[in-house]
């Protein structure tokens, strides 16, 4: 076993070990805890950067560990894995910094950061999984690690939200387990196979079973990806602290589900095989319905975080949509949205957290004139919102452009209508917020204002959204540079999905 095979494991350990140590730390060891957190996050980024360069140059990183007779745990860093890992690693660092500022002086921080690290560990594990059982393992770990974060505040509402979250995710996990074992009894392997899945050998008599298995797997992942009708937990999980929401919506839970859908379509079934089964059409429709439904619901939410949550329901399904359209260009659009949505949504949640922490603003109706009081925060928010609407040059535009082109190329013009409708709706629920914030007069006193002197808020809270907003902007402006999300998505498409 050479050095290269250890790298994927090291990436996982770089957040697992700090997390486990943090659990054991006394509450007052603030400095040590911060140091461990940041050390882990920086080490992870370093390792991931190294692997990115390696994979770009064609090096293979793989680690295997026997789990059961005939089944192995496989960690493998391919282009698609690394795409998600990079997103997680970068945003973990930013979110950790934000969480340190956000949770200053609040109780149970060791517990919080411990589970926070576990959550990222599970996400990175999901990304690096080289077969379905490894994926399942980390996916369930993610469910378990996130639960304490959702109920962190310990209020009755938090307990309730936690219960809803679990009801959905445990049920989804059971479906996923069922589908996975069933698939295994048919094929005898669960190894992800780029370029066409591993089901080619199965005869026609298995078609009905395979259709059901596809439905089971998509339902299992759809719960976390908040596909309608499995989305009910997401808006409720809003009671969690802002950094948790940010992580949930941009990196960890929701993305793990979307990523699972990508894996199922491309590396388990293979896009052509899935198209032959006739399962991609329904998936595309489900995604389209989710996109429109999420946006419609978002229109009517006054609670800012709830509005953002429904927006996530809608936006994450772009990924499923891009995958289900099943053409190279649409796929690029879907896959690149993994990163784009993450950058934009995390910005929005950071900003919402800042408003709540600094001024006590939780509702859209309380936001009149807030742009004057907190110009930097609202500037970041504006970039994120325009990205969501799909206005150039923010990253969201790139996604929609590729999705639309891809749909036309695949002869599915109706998708363009969905995209246009969704953009209109996005504008309809984001522009009023921006209008209130920038153009209306403040109504006098803020609900619960904290004084930060001449600054608008604590710098630990302000820097992260500015950084992620800048990244979202850069991802849209600098699309043609090597290592931009779009270029990497093209690399994935070329190397893993479609042979040139």
């Amino acid at each position: 076993m050479n050095w290269n095979s250890w790298l994927p494991l090291l990436v996982i350990l770089s957040s697992l070990l700090p997390g486990l140590i943090i659990f054991g730390l006394a509450e007052k060891r603030v400095r040590l805890r911060i140091m461990l957190n940041l050390l882990g996050a920086v080490a992870k980024i370093g390792l991931v950067g190294w692997m990115l360069w390696g994979v770009y140059n064609g090096i293979h990183y793989e680690m295997r560990l026997a789990l059961l007779p005939g089944l192995e745990l496989v960690l493998r860093a391919g282009p698609l894995s690394l795409f998600f890992v990079t997103l997680s690693a970068l945003l973990w660092l930013v979110t950790t910094a934000y969480a340190i500022g956000y949770l200053e002086e609040s109780p149970n921080r060791s517990r919080f950061f411990g589970f926070f690290s576990l959550c990222v560990t599970a996400t990175v594990g999901v990304a690096l999984s080289g077969n379905l059982i490894t994926f399942l393992l980390f996916y369930e770990l993610l469910t378990l690690a996130t639960y304490p974060l959702v109920v962190h505040r310990g209020t009755e509402a938090a307990r309730h939200a936690g219960r809803t979250y679990l009801t959905y995710t445990v049920f989804g996990g059971a479906l996923l387990l069922l589908g996975t074992v069933w698939l295994y009894t048919l094929t005898g392997t669960l190894e992800f196979a780029p370029q066409g899945g591993f089901l080619d050998g199965l005869g026609d008599e298995h078609r009905p079973a395979l259709v059901i298995i596809f439905a089971l797997l998509i339902a299992g992942f759809g719960v976390k990806a908040a596909l309608v009708p499995f989305h009910g937990w997401l808006p409720q999980a809003m009671v969690a602290p802002a950094p948790v929401s940010a992580l949930l919506h941009a990196v960890a839970v929701v993305k793990a589900g979307a990523f699972g859908i990508v894996r199922v379509v491309y590396d388990v079934f293979g896009v052509e095989f899935a198209a032959g089964l006739g399962v991609l059409g329904p998936l595309a429709w489900l995604a389209a319905v989710t996109i429109i439904y999420g946006s419609l619901r978002a229109l009517f939410q006054d609670d800012l975080k709830r509005r953002l949550a429904f927006s996530t329901v809608s936006q994450v399904s772009y990924i499923a949509l891009g995958v289900a359209i099943a053409g190279p260009i649409a796929t690029i659009g879907g896959v690149v949205h993994l990163v784009h949505q993450g950058l934009m949504k995390i910005t929005l949640f950071f900003c919402a957290g800042n408003l709540a922490e600094t001024l006590g603003i939780h509702k859209v109706s309380e936001m009149n004139g807030v742009g004057r009081r907190m110009p930097w925060t609202m500037a970041a928010f504006t970039i994120g919102a325009f990205g969501m609407i799909g206005a150039p040059p923010v990253a969201g535009f790139v996604t929609k452009w590729y999705l639309g082109l891809g749909a036309l190329e695949a002869g599915q013009a109706w998708v363009v209508l969905v995209l246009a409708g969704s953009s209109l709706l996005n504008a309809a629920y984001f522009l009023p917020i921006l209008h209130r914030a920038w153009f209306r007069e403040p109504s006098g006193v803020w609900p619960e204002e904290r004084d930060f002197g001449r600054k608008e808020t604590a710098w630990m809270l302000l820097l992260p959204p500015l950084l992620t907003a800048a990244m979202a902007l850069a991802a849209g402006l600098l699309v043609m540079l090597p290592f931009s999300p779009l270029e990497w998505a093209k690399l994935i498409s070329a190397r893993e999905f479609y042979q040139p």
């Binding site: 026997a66 639960y147 679990l166 445990v170 049920f171 074992v181 295994y184 005898g188």
Partner: protein, 488 residues
Amino acid sequence: MDVVFTEFPWGVMLILLPLVGGMICLLWPRRGRTLGLVTVFAVALSVVGVAWQMLDTGIYRHAVGGWGAPLGIDLYADGLSLLMLAASALVGLGVSVYSAAYFGREDGTRFWPLWLFLLAALNALFLSGDIFNVYVTFELMGLAAVALVALAGGQNALGGAMRYLLAALLGSLAYLLGIALLYHGFGTVDIALLADRVDASPVAWAALGLMGAGLLLKTAVFPLHFWLPPAHASAPAPVSALLSALVVKASFYILLRLWLEVFEPLVGSDAVSTLLGLLGAMAVLWGSVQALRQSRLKLLIAYSTVAQIGYLFLAFPLAAAAGATAWYAALYLALSHALAKAAMFLAAGNLLHFGGHDRIAGLDRVVQRLPLTAAAFALAGVSIMGLPPSGGFIGKWLMLEAALGQERWDLVAVMIAGGLLAAAYIFKVLGYAFTQADVTHESRAVPVSMEWAALLLALGAVLLGFLAVPVLSLVGIGEPFGVSGVGP
């Protein structure tokens, strides 16, 4: 040196050590704790010794006093026995460390001799090569276990112990009648010899009926589980742990042995295995629903045991087609349940000790106040729910694989439903552990060793999730399931 190690009769030590240790504890009660700990540790080392020998030479066989079967007593161990011995030793170690801090001086003088006798009986049972010895160990085990349940005193404990005593005696009696029939019909009580001689005659069927009924009662399979929840819930925490983790598994182990070897000619008919599978499925559903309905933690855990035992019986109808996979699944579930359930009862004991009650709705902020105990409960819960990574997951995966491979959708549905219900009752407890509430009662500090004993056992159950390949290859020694080693 090496010869001494490989030739040493480690198997005999497994029985002799706790037996003698228990007697010394009776004679010298003030040193009970030290003696007990030393003995249990020595037993664990002896298990390692046996395992070492078995890796070298395969099946372990020892004719006590030089007399072989059919006259003398043969000790016999294959991979299946070894695994059960190892589980007893591990759980025994954890529970002993816990008990050293849990029991005061007075209770301790009664606990240690009884526990060592129980351990001797368990080890003897797992090493037995004939069915009459098994009966003797059943009696010793039953008496020790009942006395341990009664240790807590009070009306609940005595009532529970009384029911337990009746069930245990009734079970043993039925089993004894079965032995008499077999001895009458086939002229031996040695398992290996019986395996050659038993045919599908009415005598054999009657014996199977009697012994089966007795063992089912002892294993507390639905609907014969009525004695288990009161006994396991009212006993002191370490005793509950031993009973749920080990004692019910012992009778399951004998049932499995008889099924695989003695009654093999009768197993060909589907009726019995279908019945066992049905009882198992009912146990999974009934036990889980009852667990969910409990408002007291220890009763919840006890009903969870009823449910988890049900899973073991799902292997019987699946084994005809799936063979070793189904048995491996049952075995892995038994093993991980032993560790996880012991951890869970010990954790419950900590909560009871700390808060003075075990009402689930009153477990506020446990996570802050007893973090290690909460972690132990949660990790054990992961295995009980069958979520990865844990031994419970491996067992469930194998069982699902066996069921899906032959399209037994009914059993698949039961397993999935059982997992969901388990998640519901585990998180019912954990949900309260995070709530904020004012402290309304005096709390008592929990000794560190009690917290760590629970946590380490729970970690063991999780770790089992990564050890499937070596563990299953150990089980293959002596081909207890008709196949050697592990195959896909």
